[in-house]
Symmetry: C2
Subunit: 461 residues, 2 copies
C-alpha cells in the first residue's frame, strides 16, 4: 500500500458500480427453495406475483446470474444520493491506540437516514415499469416507509404506508416526512381493511404490530387495481439491491489496494450485512485470493436468531400468511423484549445468510445494548457521526477486534457497515445517558416457547 | 465546458482548501469599526479578549490578510466531515424544464445537520490552543449548540450550553444529542447566573429568550477560570471560518470550468451566505473576470433586515450589553413574529454583508414562508433531500430565477447554498402539510417601534 489513504473515499461517477452481486450464483449449497404454505411445494413466480412486483419476484428466484445489470433508471436514482463515503476511521484508531486499520461504509447521509433507500428505489422503479400506479407497505420505526415515500415521489407512484399505531403516535415526525413526500400514512390496525377491522373488534385500543401492518398492506395491495406490496428486508431481491453497498466498497478498496481481513455488519433481517459482504464473500467462495478474510454478523442479545436460533422453515410474519422460508429463526411467535432500542427485532434471518452461517462461512455474535451504546458514544465523540443503535452493534464488534489487535500487535484491516444515523433514535440515547437503559436476554424457556411456533412440517424433521 | 459534469462533485483530500478567505482584505470600503459601548471608541482586542478567545478576536479585527492559512489541527477537524458535496441539480432542472444549470453546495450531512460546524471546530481548536479548559455558549433551535458539543468532544473541552427554555422543552432530542456528546445543557433562564436569577425573580414562568441565554453564557464565561464565550453567527471571524464553504465550491467549479452567473444564499446573521460568496465576491471586487456575476441574499419577509432595515450602529443583543456594530438592522428591540419556522429570526446582519449591500454588490429579497415551503417540497420530491426551512429561502429564489430563464431562454448558471437538513424542523413541515402555516409581514408601524431601539449616538446621525 503506497498511496496515502484519504479519510473519505468517494467513487467518481464513472467508477460507480453498474451491477448488483447475486451471491447465490457462486454458492455451492444454495438456500432451500421458498415453499407455498398450502402445498408445501416450491413457490412459483406466479404464486408470488399476486402480491409482489414481477421483476423482484424474478430476482427472488434467480440463482444463476452472478452480476445483475442495474437498469439506467435505477442508476439515475442512485446518483441522487450515492456514492456513500467509505471512511477510514483514523480518529477512532487513534482513540483506541490500535495497530489495526478500521474502515466503515456510511449509508446514513440520505434523507431516509439509512441504507433502506437502496432497495426502495429499485422496487418503485420496477413497479412503474410494470405499469402499476400505486404500492403499499408497512413500517415500524419508519425508516423503510420513509425510503419508500422518497422513491415513490421520485418515480411518480402513489404509496400507502401502514404504520404500527404506537410508532405513528411516538414518532409523529417520521410520519410527517412520509406525508411531505406525498405518501398516505395509516396507523395500523385501521378500519380500511378486513384484517384491521377484525383486530380492532377484538382489541379496540391495541397499539398494533408489524405483523398486523403487513397483513393490512398485503390485503390492500391485493384488492387494489394496479397495486402491489413491497417489503424492505429479509427477501433475496432486497439483499441483491443492497449489494450496491458492497460493490461500491469493493471498488473503493480495490482502487487503493486495501484488502480487508474482517468484515462486520449488524444483522436484523440481514439485508445490509448481505449487501455489504456480497462481492467479498463471492470472491472467497469462488476461491479468490482473499487470505484469511472472515465475516462477522452482530445481532442483539435480546433477539439472537443466528447464535441461538434454529435453521428451519418458518413463516415471515406472526400471522402465518407468508410463504415458508428456510432460515435461522427464533420462531414466528417469538416476541423480542420491547426494551431493545434498535430495529434488529425480527425473528428470522435472510435465507442466503442463514445458509452461509450453517456452512461456516459467516460467524455471528450477540451483544447487549448497554455495551453497544458504550461503543456508539466512544465512536461518535471522535468520528463525529451519531450512529443508529442498529449500526452500533457493528461498531461494538469492530472496536473489540481492534482492541484485540492492540494486544496481539496484529495490523488487521477491519471493515464495518454503518447503516444509518441515530437522529430518529434519540429517546434511546436519552435512556442511555440517564443510565436507565436495560436489556433482556431471553431465557432458554422463552426461546423454547418461540420454537413451538415453527411449523411442524415434514421439511422441518 | 467539455467535461461531463457529475451529479455530485467531491474534492479529493489533496484538493481541499488550505486557506480561509477574508473578504475585507479586498473591499474598497471596509465595514466600520466595532465600537466600545461605553466610550464609543473603536473596540480593541483587549476589550474583547475578556469574553472571546484570543485568535478569533485577532481574526475579527484583521482587515488585511486575504488568505488566512487554516491550521493543521483544524484541517484535521474538517476532514472528519468535509468535503461537502457540490451537487448539480439535474432532477430539479428537469422538473422545472429550464435551460438554466443549477448547482447547490450541501452542508447538511454532518451530525449537527448544518454549516455551523465549520466555525464550531475552529473556535474550539483555538480555545484548546490558548490553554482554556471550557467554553460557554447559547443555543435557540439547537444547531449551534450541537455543533459546539461535537467540536468540544473532538478537542477535549468542557462545554456549557444555555438553551432557551422553551426550546429545550420543545426539542428534547436536540438537548439529548448535545448531552450525548458530553455537553452540559442548562435551560435558560436558570438560577446558575445573576442575570438568570434576576429574570426568574421578575417572571418565574418565562420561556426564556436568546438574549437572556447570551447574557447567562457570557456571565458564566467571564466568572469561570480558563473559560471563554463563543458565538456562532454575525461576527466577522465566524464568516471567515465559513468561507471554507465558498473555497471548496470555487475549487470544485474551477475544476470543471463552471462559471456561476448567480450566487444565492439565505440570510439570518449572514455567516453561511458570507462564507459561500467570499472567494467569488473577492474575485469580482478585485476586478477578475466574473462577467455579470450577481449575488442575492434571501431573507424571511417576517424579519427583513436587508430589504427594510437601517444601516446603523446597534447592539447585537436585546439586553444591550455587546459592543456596537454598524450593520443592517431592524433594531435590537425588534421581535420577529414567532410563527416563522426558520432560524433566520435575527434583527441584525453581519457587517461585511451589510457594507456590500449598501455599496450595491449584494442584492436582497424577502420571501413569505408558505412560498418558501412550496419551493422546499418541490425540491425535495425530485432531489431527495429534505431541506431546512432556512435553506429553503435560497431554494425559492433559485427556482424563481430558473423559471425566469425558462421564459427568456437564458442558460444561466445558478449556484445556491443548502445549509442544512430539515430533520429538526418537522413540526414546521407538519404545519405546512396541514395548511395551517401562516406568516406575518411586519407593518411599517411595527418596524418603526423596532427602529426606536437603535441607540441614539452621534455615529448614527
Amino acid at each position: 500500500m503506497t498511496k496515502k489513504i484519504p479519510t473519505r473515499i468517494y467513487l467518481s461517477e464513472d467508477e460507480m458500480p453498474q451491477y448488483w452481486y447475486n451471491l447465490r450464483a457462486v454458492m455451492e449449497h444454495k438456500p432451500d427453495p421458498i415453499l407455498h404454505p398450502g402445498t408445501l411445494k416450491p413457490a412459483s413466480a406466479a404464486d408470488m406475483e399476486g402480491i409482489f412486483c414481477k421483476e423482484p419476484v424474478r430476482q427472488e428466484l434467480d440463482e444463476s446470474t452472478k452480476l445483475v445489470p442495474i437498469p439506467q433508471g435505477i442508476q439515475d436514482f442512485y446518483r441522487a444520493y450515492r456514492p456513500s463515503a467509505l471512511i477510514r476511521a483514523y480518529y477512532l484508531e487513534k482513540e483506541l491506540d490500535t495497530p489495526a486499520e478500521i474502515y466503515y461504509k456510511f449509508e446514513g447521509t440520505n434523507t431516509s437516514g439509512s441504507h433502506k433507500l437502496n432497495s426502495a428505489g429499485p422496487q418503485a422503479y420496477y413497479a412503474k415499469e410494470e405499469g402499476l400506479t400505486s404500492l403499499t407497505t408497512e413500517t415500524g420505526a419508519g425508516q423503510w416507509g420513509t425510503a419508500m415515500a422518497m422513491a415513490c415521489a421520485f418515480y411518480g407512484l402513489d404509496l400507502t404506508v401502514y404504520m404500527v399505531k404506537v410508532s405513528s403516535e411516538q414518532k409523529p415526525y417520521r410520519k410527517a416526512v412520509m406525508e411531505t413526500y406525498g405518501a398516505k400514512v395509516i396507523p395500523s390496525p385501521s378500519d380500511t381493511t378486513e384484517s384491521g377491522r377484525k383486530i380492532l373488534e377484538t382489541d379496540p385500543h391495541t397499539g398494533g404490530s408489524l405483523g398486523c401492518a403487513i397483513s393490512e398492506a398485503v390485503e390492500t395491495a391485493v384488492k387494489t387495481d394496479k397495486c402491489r406490496y413491497v417489503l424492505g428486508s429479509v427477501l433475496n431481491h432486497v439483499l441483491l439491491h443492497q449489494s450496491i453497498i458492497g460493490m461500491e466498497t469493493k471498488a473503493a478498496m480495490d482502487k487503493y489496494g486495501i484488502k480487508p481481513d474482517l468484515i462486520i455488519g449488524c444483522a436484523g433481517g440481514g439485508s445490509n450485512l448481505g449487501g455489504l459482504i456480497a462481492p467479498f464473500m463471492g470472491e472467497k467462495l469462488a476461491g479468490g485470493k482473499t487470505g484469511n478474510l472472515r465475516f462477522i454478523a452482530v445481532e442483539p442479545a435480546s433477539c439472537p436468531s443466528f447464535t441461538r436460533g434454529r435453521y428451519a422453515y418458518d413463516f415471515g410474519d406472526t400471522a402465518k400468511t407468508t410463504p415458508l422460508i428456510r432460515m435461522q429463526t427464533l420462531g414466528n411467535g417469538f416476541i423480542p423484549s420491547s426494551n431493545h432500542a434498535g430495529g434488529l427485532r425480527y425473528h428470522g434471518m435472510n435465507p442466503i445468510l442463514s445458509r452461509l452461517y450453517r456452512d461456516g462461512y459467516l460467524e455471528a455474535r450477540s451483544e447487549v445494548q448497554t455495551d453497544v451504546f458504550d461503543a456508539a458514544v466512544r465512536f461518535m465523540k471522535v468520528e463525529g457521526i451519531l450512529p443508529a443503535p442498529e449500526s452500533s452493534h457493528a461498531i461494538k464488534a469492530a472496536i473489540d477486534e481492534a482492541l484485540e489487535c492492540k494486544k496481539t500487535g496484529e495490523k488487521k484491516v477491519i471493515l464495518f457497515g454503518l447503516t444509518g444515523t441515530g437522529y430518529f433514535d434519540l429517546s434511546a440515547y436519552m435512556a442511555y445517558n440517564a443510565k436507565t437503559m436495560t436489556d433482556h436476554i431471553p431465557s432458554d424457556e422463552e426461546l423454547a416457547r418461540g420454537f413451538e411456533s415453527i411449523p411442524d412440517i415434514p421439511q422441518n424433521k
